[in-house]
Symmetry: C2
Subunit: 388 residues, 2 copies
Amino acid sequence: MFFSGESKLTVPCERFIVIYRIWGREEESHAMAKDICVEQTVEFPFELVPKGLIADNIVGRIEAFEPYDSESFKTSISFPVEGTSNEFTQFLNIVFGNISLKPGIRVERLELPEAILKNFKGPRFGRSGLRELLGVEKRPLLFTALKPMGLTNKEFAELAYKFALGGIDIIKDDHGISNQAFSPFEERVKLCSEAVEKANRETGYKSIYVPNITSGSSEVVKRARKAKELGAGGLLIAPGLTGLDNMKEIAEDDSIALPIITHPAFQGSYVMSNNGISHQALFGQIARLAGADCTIYPNFGGRFSFSRDECISIANACEEDIGSLKKIFPCPAGGMSLESIPESLKVYGNNVIFLIGGGLFKHGPDIIENSRYFRRLIEPVIKERIDN
Amino acid sequence: MFFSGESKLTVPCERFIVIYRIWGREEESHAMAKDICVEQTVEFPFELVPKGLIADNIVGRIEAFEPYDSESFKTSISFPVEGTSNEFTQFLNIVFGNISLKPGIRVERLELPEAILKNFKGPRFGRSGLRELLGVEKRPLLFTALKPMGLTNKEFAELAYKFALGGIDIIKDDHGISNQAFSPFEERVKLCSEAVEKANRETGYKSIYVPNITSGSSEVVKRARKAKELGAGGLLIAPGLTGLDNMKEIAEDDSIALPIITHPAFQGSYVMSNNGISHQALFGQIARLAGADCTIYPNFGGRFSFSRDECISIANACEEDIGSLKKIFPCPAGGMSLESIPESLKVYGNNVIFLIGGGLFKHGPDIIENSRYFRRLIEPVIKERIDN
């Protein structure tokens, strides 16, 4: 009665699937699943939704509903691809926009058809591209951060030089180093890029310096271009601060074309309770959709709270099939210590990037020697694996 | 031993304060407060942080620590303004970047000196500007949404016309309406702006149409400019999807200069557990910093989970003193019904915007009459208040 009914959706829309976990008893969980179908699409009293095209095509549809464990249920809900406008933001809005405001609902996994995936170029380098860039065929990659905040750019560049001399593959800014008066961005990128390049000439390695470009919405792309011009080998972005689509735009920009490393700052609340997004979906699937070549997350056993299983689920999502999106590197971090490397090697295998920041300063007074020690912890294990 | 020590921070930095609530027993909560000081700044083994300038100026400092209730503590931690690079993203990173990945920490409030606030223009219109624009001196403003997703633009424009005829002040796109094939953005903005303008000529009211411009990172500003050109009277953005700084850029852009309404989609997880940001800080203080003139949140008693006290805390943060930032409108929504208006009037007073979407369709079969009824629910109460 309210609408003239001239909707153009005369053919059924192709659909994508979101798997949710819902906490509660069966009856209330099923009611919540039905609620998700409406809340995430028409957000309208269901009894008043125009019958036919909108009720049948636009509203979410429960495709499966079954127990997850004794206190929660798992439901697959399909949504129309056309509802996403071919936009990452509107896709994320359908997946978890309004229901982020309701307790006891978690996005577990995404199952996406080509009709959605065609909007995502995905990681530009992926595992093989990053290995080729760094000249590292088989072993895990070594990664560290320039810190602490407050050093001058000259000091950061000295550190970068030593890390690279010691054989660290990737040397990034700490994610809190931005464009502070004591460490302006352009000068830092120039000095650190040159320092790593100088070390490479001495070692023959192909280490890269990766500046943090997290910044204002339209500033990010300017910093990305400037970083490329000044010799940076990759880019660090915290999409919790810039927006996920911002990272996707940088990753997909052919004029930039540098490896993208995603940092989880400000994203943690999504994985901290029964409301949110699973570790595998957020730091694995969504990070890949957003074009990350490497996804940093806090490793189990460090100073954060992720469990071993949650970390493994992220690593699995980095390599599972998602259309033709490239496989990427999981990057356990967050209080990783040199002592934890042997255990982590067992868990992650060879296709991993180990990020050790502060822990690399703790081993001894010589940063170059500490870096070499880090590398020696990895290489014999890998050699043995490859030889056998 | 690791650093040359040429840090330029020879004078103490000005500092800003974040008040956190930490769950746990006293000893562990105090240890967590100390951890926040390090994690959010140098992120480095504290015993190795260079003494003097960095340890004294850059690292966070516990200014107060006291019980909050029987299970949590309240601590005020100060951070150096220089650490923020005068950037919103890096400011947010210091406030809650890495610790978003740790359980049991919530940002309760921000206390910001002029040295921080100078980086924020804040709301352009605020309460008085929006009242002037809409020609409404005293009463609460009436707000509704064009829905359901799947209608054509012609249908949306017909609805917008009827809402405006019925005296609704602000008519926005549902936040899931973007640029779908069945409702392309430009056509919709043109038709709906014209429809509302036509109604205004008939009624003498000054209703506005507010399109949703939430979209890709660099697309948002294009849509904002296009919306302005086509006659839109305000802009809806969901900063959980675009990034908070993206909204700030649009709000501060003098070539756009339209009222900004912020939508909470995808932000809910920040307020859903003991890890996160308080309702008042996220939907009040941070929304104002990001330039919102009106902040939408789910009202108590609706289909979401916010309590009455949490809603009141948001409303308070909309009008508390934050430097010279303008006061803004709280906008309770999310399953607001016409029946809930009298109670909400008692709670919020006159300086509020009531957003009723689907509920406006439920009252009867005539949208114009339903809209008038909404208005009649408000006006007598306000008249009585003003007369007495």
